[in-house]
């Protein structure tokens, strides 16, 4: 199963080992791990809650992985995204990509996380000393996704 949404933490080594198991043509593994920062926009973050849209999230992540596989010559790719309550320094997301050579693995890995950040239905709510707040979408994430020149996602605003 190339995508998972779960409340539990994950072991990066175990997940990447499983991803490349059974295919010895793999020579390169690129990985990205997103973690909870304790400071965001100058406010200290005490904890965070990740909400998602069950059903759609898995489909959106699978579609992003499929797009990466059709675009680059990679062997396999994996996305694990946590939901629920998280604390600073906790792992949030793992993207792993295997390929024969590193260039494809790096590009596909960065593509997947860029698209995940603009297309997967997940939302962060931070608890800070000033109260709880929903994290605002960042224009820089839209710009990062736009670099890949996929058709723009549909907008309804």
């Amino acid at each position: 199963m190339p995508v998972r949404v779960q409340t539990e933490d994950f072991d990066v080594a175990r997940e990447l080992d499983a991803l490349r198991a059974g295919d010895r043509a793999v020579g390169a593994v690129a990985a990205f791990i997103g973690t909870v920062r304790d400071v965001n926009l100058d406010a200290r973050v005490a904890s965070m809650t990740l909400e998602h849209y069950p059903g759609m999230t898995e489909k959106a992540l699978a579609a992003i992985v499929d797009a990466a596989k059709s675009r680059w010559d990679i062997v396999d790719a994996l996305v694990i995204h946590r939901v629920g309550a998280l604390a600073p320094a906790d792992q949030i997301v793992l993207v792993g990509v295997t390929s024969a050579h590193r260039g494809e693995a790096f590009a596909a890995c960065e593509f997947i996380i860029d698209y995940l950040k603009t297309r997967a239905p997940l939302w962060k709510k931070e608890e800070t000393a000033e109260g709880a707040r929903w994290v605002d979408a960042r224009a820089t994430d839209d710009e990062a996704a736009a670099r890949w020149q996929l058709p723009q996602r549909e907008r309804t605003d």
Partner: protein, 91 residues
């Protein structure tokens, strides 16, 4: 397209919209004249209060039809699951 009562829509509200509307989902009869995503948005905004505020033109709202992000002119059909949510912030 699920096995539901005819002529209803399943609406889902997420994150800030869920909190603002005080509901995570509801089932409504397909309103007369609502055939597109944009029309549904306008119909809900006409409820006033938080609905008007959150769904006002210009507010960044994403709408998914049956788990796929949809454009304003995308069709709305009986039995659809339609979700309204703010721009995503995962990852």
């Amino acid at each position: 397209m699920r096995d539901v009562e005819p002529n209803t829509l399943s609406l889902v509200y997420l994150a800030r919209l869920r909190e603002a509307f005080g509901a995570s989902s509801e089932r409504i009869a397909l309103p007369a004249g609502v055939t597109t995503v944009a029309a549904l948005r306008a119909f809900l905004a006409a409820r006033g209060g938080a609905w008007a505020a959150e769904l006002a033109p210009g507010r960044a709202v994403r709408i998914a039809v049956n788990h796929e992000i949809a454009a304003p002119d995308a069709p709305v059909r009986p039995g659809d699951e339609i979700a309204l949510f703010p721009p995503v912030t995962g990852g």
